[in-house]
């Protein structure tokens, strides 16, 4: 409907008609792409165009280009439309656009591996340097306690600890109920239902309490650290801190780290307590083990180290989560997509690292018979 061939007085005429405007770009694009071009000389006629904007003019120019490419001589009836003249002038001026991406070469596998290794190596070095800077600030705090910024630490204890209590408590309760239920079903076959108390006590105190808490905190606070610092990075706030002469690690990283190191063990105690409570309630409701019997059995099941074996891991997990979250946050550069990517990386990496560190703890405890 926008382009039409006519034959008049022995000449082929290509009539452009209608509203050549941006809002019909889809149809214009199709019309220009589909019009039959092969043949003898053509006369272009723009008299039928009602309105022509710059987008429309670009399509007229594309039509001209296609005619030239297909070797069809053409001329305009009357003057070339003004907007087309304007678009052509714009596109003719200056150098042509460099078409990037078209020559992106296929990278050889070996090259990719090498690049990956170098990147990983650089990143490992950066992480080590970051760790060093954290330890340097903490070490310096022995001489200058003010540099620990207690106000800020307390804020982070509140945000990462107190505010997480409900969700941590709920999840610990649910998980111990599940363990008690499934465990008792299996143990019933041997008539050893009462050992459900041992199962709940040991699994919650040694592993599940601290591990689940750490995973929840990695999701809640690891992401918050990365996003908070990442946005500050995008707003040049981090550069502003540096320009004022403040140590970014001291102001942004260490308070979060200390806050979490204080909060995570406390949350773990909450999770332990809720887990045991859940096990006790479940044992009573489902298997008729009264509370006082649960308590006695629990004390027998616990070695002196059971509780501490779990709790000792909490500050280490906290260190890992806070360090990864803040490190990724400081890596954010230039764009909102980077912010999202690095926040995701922070959470995934800190959950992974928590599990890895937990495995290392398991081996060490085994060796030490702890």
């Amino acid at each position: 409907m926008f382009l039409e061939w006519r034959v008049a007085d022995g000449e082929r005429e290509l009539h452009a008609r209608g509203r050549w405007r941006a809002e019909s770009a889809t149809e214009l694009s199709r019309a220009v792409a589909e019009v039959e071009l092969e043949g003898p000389a053509a006369v272009l006629d723009a008299d039928g165009i009602e309105t022509l904007d710059l987008t429309g003019a670009w399509f007229l120019r594309r039509l001209e280009e296609r005619l030239t490419q297909s070797g069809t001589p053409f001329r305009w009836r009357g003057a070339r439309p003004e907007a087309l003249e304007f678009a052509a002038t714009l596109l003719a001026a200056g150098p042509a656009a460099a078409h990037e991406g078209s020559e992106r070469r296929h990278e050889e596998a070996l090259g990719a591996l090498g690049r990956w290794t170098v990147q990983r190596g650089g990143q490992a070095r950066d992480e080590l340097e970051f760790l060093g800077r954290i330890l340097f600030v903490i070490g310096g705090a022995f001489r200058r306690p003010r540099s620990l910024r207690f106000k800020s630490v307390i804020r982070h204890v509140y945000e990462t600890g107190i505010e997480a209590v409900p969700i941590v408590a709920l999840i610990a309760l649910l998980i111990s109920v599940i363990i008690a239920y499934i465990g008792a079903q299996e143990l019933r076959q041997f008539g050893g239902e009462v050992f459900v108390v041992d199962l709940v006590t040991i699994s919650v105190l040694r592993e599940l309490g601290v591990l689940l808490t750490a995973v929840i905190v990695a999701g809640r606070s690891g992401s918050a650290f990365a996003a908070e610092i990442g946005v500050m990075q995008l707003n040049d706030e981090v550069d502003a801190l540096r320009a004022i002469g403040l140590n970014v690690v001291e102001v942004l990283v260490v308070p979060r780290l200390l806050g979490l190191i204080i909060a995570l063990p406390l949350l773990t105690i909450v999770a332990d307590a809720m887990g045991l409570a859940g096990g006790a309630v479940m044992s009573w409701l489902a298997f008729d083990i009264p509370f006082n019997q649960f308590l006695v059995r629990m004390q027998e099941a616990m070695a002196p180290t059971t509780f501490w074996a779990g709790l000792l891991k909490a500050p280490v997990f906290a260190f890992v989560i806070a360090m990864i979250g803040t490190f990724r946050g400081l890596q954010v550069r230039d764009s909102s997509r980077e912010l999202g990517r690095l926040t995701t990386v922070a959470v995934v990496e800190s959950i992974f690292m928590v599990l890895l560190v937990d495995a290392v703890f398991a081996v060490i405890y085994w060796e030490l018979d702890f």
């Binding site: 710059l54 678009a87 200056g94 150098p95 230039d334 764009s335």
Partner: protein
């Protein structure tokens, strides 16, 4: 040029009231922008210039009053009609508001991609045209916003605003944060686009040089209302704030500079 008092204004704002808590920003503000003119909006900090722009864009729902663009009441339109209306104007925000995860070319293509179905080469070609139109070098197309200078960001934002060839442009402080050379190059670019694309431009600005260079009429927001007049008329308005604005030390020097090189039309600068 603009006809005198046409029956059909490009933008018409009637009796706008905006209030935040107890703070009254607009108390029955009227504004009328004629087709084909460059209209400047000025006002002190906190006088509600940006709120007015947000109201015109439909981002802020006023307590009372109507906004119509091209004769259509913004507040009464829904769905597809509202979307069509929103494509009839281009906007630039004060800090550019380019999408930071997209290149300049992708930023310019975004409105096209959303509005039409076009093959990649057509999109690339149209983006190149708009990028050249605002005086950016074609190799800026592949850059990300973080790699651009302040002046280039403003130009790229303008290219995105012009992606669908709207007849109306709304600009929020287009020359703020630019050095005087880049700012005056932007003024020339605006005049050039206004001439060659026959645009209507509504522009919030604090830049007196820009006002003297480009605006045919000016609206001043004082006490929650707008006093609008031709540039010549507004300069002689007796309102004390307007007197202070145009005849303070900065106003005088900008006015003198304009009278010296009045009539000189430079070609738009390239950046």
């Amino acid at each position: 040029m603009a006809a005198t008092a046409p029956a059909d204004p490009a933008v018409s704002v009637r009796g706008i009231v905006n209030r935040f808590g107890t703070q009254v920003v607009h108390a029955g503000l009227d504004m009328e922008v004629r087709r084909g003119e460059i209209f400047g909006i000025v006002g002190g900090a906190g006088s509600g210039k940006s709120v007015l722009l947000r109201t015109i864009l439909g981002l802020q729902v006023p307590r009372a009053g109507t906004v119509s663009i091209g004769g259509r009441d913004l507040t009464e339109l829904r769905g597809a009609e509202l979307r069509a209306l929103k494509r009839s104007y281009g906007v630039t925000f004060q800090h550019g508001a380019l999408f930071s995860s997209l290149t300049v070319a992708e930023n310019v293509q975004l409105p096209l991609v959303e509005a039409c179905r076009l093959p990649d080469e057509v999109l690339a070609g149209l983006a190149e045209l708009k990028i050249r139109l605002v005086g950016l070098a074609p190799d800026a197309a592949g850059k990300y916003p973080a790699q651009l200078s302040g002046g280039m960001v403003k130009r790229a934002a303008l290219a995105r605003a012009l992606a669908l060839d709207p007849p109306l442009l709304l600009l929020d402080e287009p020359t703020s944060g630019l050095d005087p050379i880049a700012a005056s190059a932007f003024d020339e670019l605006l005049l050039y686009l206004h001439r060659s694309l026959r645009l209507t431009v509504v522009m919030i600005t604090h830049d007196l040089d820009t006002i003297y260079r480009t605006c045919a009429r000016v609206g001043v927001i004082v006490d929650g209302r707008m006093i609008s007049d031709s540039l010549e008329g507004i300069v002689h308005n007796p309102h004390p704030w307007i007197q202070e604005y145009f005849h303070g030390p900065r106003g005088r020097s900008a006015s003198e500079a304009t009278h010296q090189d009045a009539g000189v039309v430079r070609s738009p600068g390239r950046q």
